[in-house]
């Protein structure tokens, strides 16, 4: 086990959780007040994204110019480019859930530090939703490759 790599993950996670907390994004009311554009509006969340984006838009191109990460063998950035139905349906459902309770995964996990049953409820539901969706997606991929193999053998 690479200890340096674990230390990086710890520092990165800690800064992320601290950032979310400092920005008060762990307070679901603040998130929902941002989403409430037709009512009493709190623009703070847009500034959180702007602050994070400002750092990353500058840093990311420089980082990706390197041949490899400092402590790893390659950059594992997403390769997929096409916009498919799954992306739209997934993002839509995610938005509905986010709007109902004001929790997206980052603040939800960070908020575990405020020990409360409400946070555990939303977290367990999130874990269940993620587990079964990933399971379904894995089966779809396996079926797909199976079909492709059959089509391939027909051609041959």
């Amino acid at each position: 086990m690479n200890l340096k790599s674990l230390l990086i993950a710890l520092v990165s996670g800690l800064l992320f959780g601290l950032g979310l907390s400092v920005a008060q994004m762990i307070d679901p009311a603040k998130v929902v007040n941002f989403l409430d554009v037709t009512g009493r509006w709190d623009p703070s969340l847009a500034f959180v994204m702007a602050g994070a984006l400002a750092v990353n838009i500058l840093a990311t191109p420089f980082i990706l110019k390197r041949n490899k990460p400092v402590c790893d063998t390659l950059f594992r950035t997403p390769l997929k480019e096409q916009i498919d139905r799954r992306l739209i349906i997934g993002a839509s459902l995610f938005g509905v859930g986010w709007g109902i309770a004001g929790y997206c995964p980052g603040p939800m996990i960070t908020a575990v530090s405020f020990v409360s049953t409400d946070i555990m409820i939303v977290l367990v539901a999130y874990i269940v939703g993620t587990f079964f969706t990933r399971l379904w997606m894995r089966k779809q991929t396996n079926n797909q490759t199976e079909q492709e193999r059959q089509v391939q053998s027909c051609i041959e």
């Binding site: 993950a9 710890l10 990165s12 996670g13 800690l14 800064l15 992320f16 950032g19 979310l20 400092v22 920005a23 008060q24 762990i26 307070d27 009311a29 007040n33 409430d36 009512g39 709190d42 623009p43 703070s44 500034f47 702007a50 984006l53 400002a54 990353n56 990311t60 490899k68 400092v70 790893d72 950059f75 950035t77 997929k80 480019e81 916009i83 799954r86 992306l87 993002a91 839509s92 459902l93 995610f94 509905v96 859930g97 986010w98 709007g99 109902i100 309770a101 997206c104 995964p105 980052g106 939800m108 996990i109 960070t110 530090s113 405020f114 409820i121 993620t130 587990f131 079964f132 990933r134």
Partner: protein, 146 residues
């Protein structure tokens, strides 16, 4: 429209910390700081790279604890849910299903993806922002729970 509780400085500072976190993870480890992706790889693993993911998630919670220890103001002292228990279950399920299906959440698409100028992430971010705003409009103003 009326502006309330706007905290631009703490929002920008917190955002910059999140940006720094993502830059560190990419520079040293070559990974995207997308929380749903990192958590998803622990909830139902695809590969054998679970330890760093668990450590990152522990880091998130420690970040929240550190914040409480430092007592930064204006602060969040306790978290009040904006919906009932049934709403929490429904919201958690939808956030889990949606982020797995859409391969990302606010951090992965909204921050890292946009910084890489990914069109997929731009479309995802605009989509979830829109459906979230419509949801809040329906729940708050049409059903009138607030």
């Amino acid at each position: 429209m009326e502006i309330i509780n706007f905290t631009p400085y703490s929002a920008l500072t917190g955002g910059a910390l999140i940006g720094l976190s993502a830059a560190i993870l990419l520079l040293f480890k070559g990974r995207i700081a997308g929380v749903s992706g990192i958590a998803g790889g622990v909830i139902l693993p695809e590969k054998e790279d679970i330890p760093w993911r668990i450590v990152f998630l522990i880091g998130l919670v420690l970040g929240g604890l550190l914040y409480q220890l430092l007592g930064i103001s204006p602060g969040v002292e306790s978290i009040q849910p904006v919906t009932g228990k049934l709403g929490l279950v429904l919201a958690g399920l939808l956030v889990g299903i949606g982020s797995a299906l859409g391969t990302g959440c606010t951090s992965g698409h909204g921050i890292c993806g946009l910084a890489r100028r990914s069109l997929r992430s731009l479309v995802a971010t605009l989509t979830f922002m829109l459906t979230a705003m419509i949801t809040v409009f329906i729940v708050r103003h049409l059903l009138g729970s607030a």
